[in-house]
C-alpha cells in the first residue's frame, strides 16, 4: 500500500516534469529516500516491460526521465504528422488571408484587423509552413513581419500572390485600419 502510493507519486512526477529530474529532487518530492529510489524505478520499469508498455524510465547521469520506447517511434511520428491533414480552423484561415493580402505584415496588424490576440494562430501557420518570417519592421519594438510561402501557393493552387482572387470590396485595410489614421470613407463600405 505504502509502496504502491510511492510508485504512483514517482510516476506522476516523472510524467508531469517532462524533462529529466534530479534524483534528489524526485526523492524529496515523492518521499522516497534516494537510496531506495533506484529499486523503485526498477520495479516500475519491470512492470512496464511485463506489459509491453509504450513508456519507460531512463536514467541519465544523476537524473531520471520518463520517455516513450524507441520501438514505437514510427507510430508516434504518424500520430504527430496526421495533424498536417487537419483542415485550417476559421481563425487560422482569417489570419492567413490577412497575411496573404497585406504581406508582409506584423502580428499586430493581424490582431488589429481581427480584433483578437492571434499569436497562437500565427505560430500554427508557421508550423504548418504556410507563412514564414520576413524580417522585422523598422518601427519601435521591431516587430517580426510575416509573408506567405510556396506551400501556401501550392495549397491554394496559385502560381504567385499576384493571382490572389480579387476581394469583393476593394478598400485596402493597410490605409484604413492598421495605421489608424485619417477619415474613414463611408463610400467604400459594403
Amino acid at each position: 500500500m505504502e509502496i504502491k502510493e510511492k510508485l504512483g507519486a514517482i510516476e506522476a512526477i516523472l510524467f508531469a516534469s517532462g524533462e529529466p529530474i534530479e534524483i534528489y529532487r524526485l526523492s524529496e518530492a515523492s518521499g522516497v529516500d534516494a537510496g531506495t529510489l533506484p529499486a523503485m524505478i526498477r520495479l516500475l520499469n519491470e512492470r512496464y516491460d511485463d506489459y509491453g508498455s509504450g513508456i519507460c524510465i531512463k536514467k541519465l547521469d544523476s537524473s531520471y526521465q520518463m520517455c516513450t520506447r524507441d520501438a514505437f517511434a514510427p507510430q508516434i511520428r504518424t500520430a504527430l504528422e496526421t495533424k498536417r491533414s487537419a483542415p485550417l480552423s476559421n481563425a487560422a484561415m482569417e489570419a492567413l488571408t490577412i497575411i496573404a493580402y497585406n504581406q508582409p505584415v506584423s502580428k499586430g496588424f493581424v490582431e488589429n484587423v481581427r480584433g483578437i490576440d492571434s499569436s497562437s494562430v500565427i505560430n500554427n501557420l508557421v508550423e504548418k509552413g504556410l507563412v514564414e518570417e520576413a524580417g522585422r519592421l523598422d518601427v519601435p519594438g521591431k516587430p517580426i513581419v510575416y509573408r506567405t510561402t510556396a506551400v501556401f501557393l501550392r495549397s491554394f493552387g496559385l502560381t504567385s500572390v499576384a493571382d490572389l482572387p480579387p476581394l469583393p470590396d476593394q478598400p485596402s485595410l493597410t490605409e484604413d485600419v492598421a495605421e489608424d489614421d485619417g477619415d474613414i470613407s463611408e463610400e467604400t463600405d459594403t
Binding site: 498536417r84 483542415p87 488571408t97 490577412i98 496573404a100 481581427r114 509552413g129 495549397s155 482572387p165
Partner: protein, 251 residues
Amino acid sequence: METISFKLEVFEGPLDLLLSLISKHKLNICDIEISKLLEQYLLYIDQAHEQNLELAGEFLEMAARLIYIKTASLLPQPEEAEQLKKELEGALIEYSLCKIAAAKLASAFCGGDIFVRKPMKIKADMTYCLVHEPDRLALAYSAISQKTIKNEVSKLRVENKINSVVKRRIVSVMTKVVHILRELYDSGEVYMDKLYEGVTDRSARVATFLAVLELTRHGRITISEDNMMIFFKGRKNGVKKTWRSKKSSEQ
C-alpha cells in the same frame, strides 16, 4: 454622532449589486419595488464615492435606468414602466441563475490538480498538405467584415478622445452625474448655478461641467436656452433604446 466605518463590498457589476440589495432588503425579484431599490442603489454609489471606490460606467447607466423606470412609473400611463421593470427583472433572474450555475461549476474545478505534458519534440513534417480553392481566401477575408473593423476603429478613436478628457477624475464625473440626476429626480429641474454652489475645488467644478456635458450628450437632460436651467428629459428612447439595441445585436 457616531460614525460607522465599514468596508464597502465590491460587486461584479450593477446586476450583482442589485441582486445583493434585493436579497438584503428582502425584495421580491419577480416584482421589485423600484423606489426602494433605487434609493438603496444610489446610497451605495454615494458610499462608493466617499470611499473613493472606482465604479465602472455600467453602474451609472443602471442608476439612470432605475431613475427612468421610476420616473416613467409616475406617468399617467405606466405601461412603459411596467415593461421596463419586467425587462430588468428578467435580466436579474437570468443573472442570478448564472451566478448559481457558476458557483456550482466552480466547485467542480480540479484544473490546478491535474498535470499534463508538453508534446514531445520530435522531428516530424508538419507541412500543411490539404488543397483549397483560391476563392476560399477572398471569402474568408470578406467574412471579417471590413465595415465593422473600420467602425470599431473610428469608435475607438472617439472613445479614446473622450476618455483622455474624463479619465483623470472619472470617479468624480460619475458621482456628479448621479448628484445631478438626484437633484433632478425630485423636481425635474435645477438651476445650473445650484450645481456649482459651494463647489470650490477646481477638479470638482470641472467634473460637474463634464457631467452636464455627458448627460446632455446622452439625451438624459436638456439645458434651457439661456443655459441657466437643467431639465430632466423624459426620454422615450434613451435608456430603453440602448438596452434593446444591445439585446437585438445578439442573435
